[in-house]
């Protein structure tokens, strides 16, 4: 039985004056799944998130979160979602714990649970020893983790992460991402994130590629790579003549440079057959799978600008 959708967007358009930031997009996100919006800056990612989070009014379309309309049932929507914005939205003068407590008051977390929940989320993001520290004194990575903890403390059904790891060093980025995955598995919440990091999109169930306000592709990372990229095989052989003949016969176009061949493999079986045929002659072998970056490149004709 298919699971219900956490988010449903139908024909959503958002204009700023004459500029169309989001142009008639539709998509759905299954409950409990991870969904990524992948695209360059200015593609319409944040506009979509801001509209889903009720901080911006749509120009047109229907946007539902757990069945509630984001324009007409703001209160229900706000109760169901947690948000980690691109920039810090913590009160820098309060401590981590005070920020979380305030959040619990706003979201009416039962008073008897507040203490436990704060402990739970702070442990999840490994921030227990910082609970009494003023947020303003924390480093960027710690702030981000505090922000994530706060977004979770009311146990949202859907968690929005707008570029959750932008501006962090690679190590912190990896650990923040680790926390996100941990909590998603633990709490079975739906994750909606925007990113321009391929690695982050890679581990999502579904990826929508957005460019100039339009969704240009939407599928699982594996399917996207299958549909839009080809595997490249690199071969170093002692006897290039045989390989050359083989490839020409098979009608595969290739590039050759001093015994080094590279060609696009349409089918896995093709390359397996070739490799077993010349296994004694092969000196080096490298099979390169397509990446989401290649997908993006092949769809939009450009690299993601960071």
């Amino acid at each position: 039985m298919p699971r219900e959708n956490a988010i449903e967007v139908q024909n959503f358009t958002k204009k700023f004056g004459n500029f169309t930031a989001v142009d008639n997009i539709s998509f759905a996100v299954e409950r409990g799944s991870r969904f990524a919006f992948l695209g360059p800056n200015g593609a319409g990612k944040s506009t979509t998130i801001n509209t889903l989070c009720t901080v911006q009014e749509k120009t047109q379309g229907d946007l539902l979160i757990h069945g509630h309309d984001v324009s007409r049932q703001q209160d229900q929507v706000r109760r169901d979602i947690g948000i980690v914005f691109q920039e810090s939205t913590l009160d820098p003068k309060l401590t981590v714990e005070e920020n979380l407590r305030l959040h619990c008051d706003f979201y009416r977390v039962p008073r008897s649970e507040v203490q436990n929940r704060i402990g739970f989320v702070l442990e999840l993001v490994d921030l227990l020893q910082w609970r009494k520290a003023p947020v303003g004194s924390l480093s960027g990575g710690l702030k981000r983790r505090a922000e994530i903890a706060r977004g979770l403390v009311h146990f949202p059904k859907v968690l929005f992460l707008d570029e959750p790891t932008t501006g962090l060093d690679p190590q912190t980025r990896a650990s923040v991402w680790d926390y996100i995955q941990r909590l998603q598995q633990e709490k079975d919440i739906t994750l909606f994130l925007t990113t321009h990091y391929m690695e982050e999109a890679e581990i999502c169930n579904q990826v929508a590629i957005i460019d100039h306000g339009r969704i240009v592709a939407h599928d699982s990372p594996a399917n996207l790579k299958h549909d839009y990229t080809q595997t490249t095989v690199h071969l170093d052989v002692r006897e290039p003549d045989g390989v050359r003949n083989y490839l020409s016969h098979a009608g595969i176009s290739y590039v050759e440079e001093q015994g080094h061949f590279s060609f696009k493999a349409q089918q896995v079986t093709e390359s397996v057959a070739l490799i077993s045929e010349f296994k004694d002659s092969i000196q080096d072998l490298n099979i390169q799978k397509g990446t989401l970056n290649d997908v993006f490149l092949s769809i939009t004709g450009k690299e993601i600008r960071v």
């Binding site: 958002k14 700023f16 500029f19 930031a21 800056n41 200015g42 593609a43 319409g44 990612k45 944040s46 506009t47 801001n50 989070c53 009720t54 901080v55 911006q56 009014e57 703001q74 209160d75 229900q76 706000r78 109760r79 979602i81 948000i83 914005f85 691109q86 920039e87 810090s88 939205t89 913590l90 009160d91 820098p92 003068k93 309060l94 005070e98 407590r101 305030l102 959040h103 008051d105 706003f106 979201y107 009416r108 706060r150």
Partner: protein, 276 residues
């Protein structure tokens, strides 16, 4: 609903307790004003029976006014720190946020007013116990009114630099045309309409009336002391002044709530990072 308002109150009090600079400024500024104006008024207030009490009650009310204004200004800091976004996506009604913010301004300004109160006590300010007790809710009323006014101005201007300018433009005339420092009796007649429209005039008058135990004085005497006003044959008594302050407070908070509710804040800097 009360939980949200209480949470906002608590936040403001925590922030005040950590803001040593703000507390220091309160004490420093009021000490300075007490010092300077006590020289000026010594001669000019010769017809007033209790010049020290007269002056201190004025400084207390000025402190309450400034504190409430400054506190409401914090909302601009919340906008620039990004915290406003957290508030705006929370499942709470906007009027609760506005109300919580203004109540907090009232409370914070009472706290700062009390600091001056005690400072004055050392200089010989001696209201009796009953008066002192009544003056606290009065300070709160004044703080509430100007907190509401400050919040309204903040929601209208939205950027810190413009608000600073506006605060100066608004608060300077309010201050000097209120009788808090310069007795209204000394002002030229053509300024009187402005003086009487100034909520701070009425706040000062009521507060002074209380602080100087003038309840039993006849109206003519009250007018001579600058706590009642006669304008074109119409007399404004301290009781009417109190009601006027309350009315203006309710007026400003209504405006602020209205402004707050309708504002989508999407053209505020933090949301303005462009069409992503």
């Amino acid at each position: 609903m009360t939980r949200t308002i209480l949470a906002i109150l608590k936040r403001e009090l925590i922030k005040l307790s950590r803001d040593k600079m703000r507390l220091f400024m309160t004490i420093f500024m009021s000490a300075l004003f007490l010092f300077i104006f006590s020289f000026i008024t010594k001669s000019s207030l010769s017809n007033i029976s209790q010049p020290l009490n007269y002056l201190i009650s004025g400084v207390v009310i000025m402190t309450v006014f400034q504190a409430a204004f400054t506190n409401s200004m914090q909302i601009l800091e919340d906008i620039s720190s990004g915290f406003m976004k957290e508030i705006l996506v929370a499942p709470v009604a906007r009027y609760q946020i506005a109300l919580g913010q203004v109540l907090a301004s009232g409370l914070v300004s009472v706290a700062q007013g009390l600091v001056v109160f005690f400072l004055g006590f050392f200089l010989g300010f001696r209201p009796d116990f009953l008066h002192a007790v009544v003056m606290v809710p009065l300070m709160f009323l004044v703080g509430f009114t100007f907190g509401a006014m400050g919040l309204f101005l903040a929601t209208v201007t939205r950027t810190s630099s413009r608000f600073q300018l506006l605060v100066t433009i608004v608060s300077l005339p309010l201050t000097f045309l209120s009788g808090a420092y310069i007795p209204t009796m000394m002002m030229p007649g053509f300024l009187m309409p402005i003086v009487l429209l100034n909520p701070l005039t009425h706040a000062t008058a009521v507060f002074r009336w209380m602080a100087l135990h003038m309840e039993s004085l006849p109206v003519a005497e009250l007018i001579r002391n600058g706590v009642a006003f006669s304008f074109q044959g119409f007399t404004v008594t301290p009781a009417m002044s109190a009601l006027l302050v309350l009315a203006m407070g309710i007026g400003f908070i209504s405006l602020a709530v209205l402004k707050f509710r309708n504002a989508d804040f999407s053209h505020v800097e933090i949301f303005k990072k462009g069409p992503h």
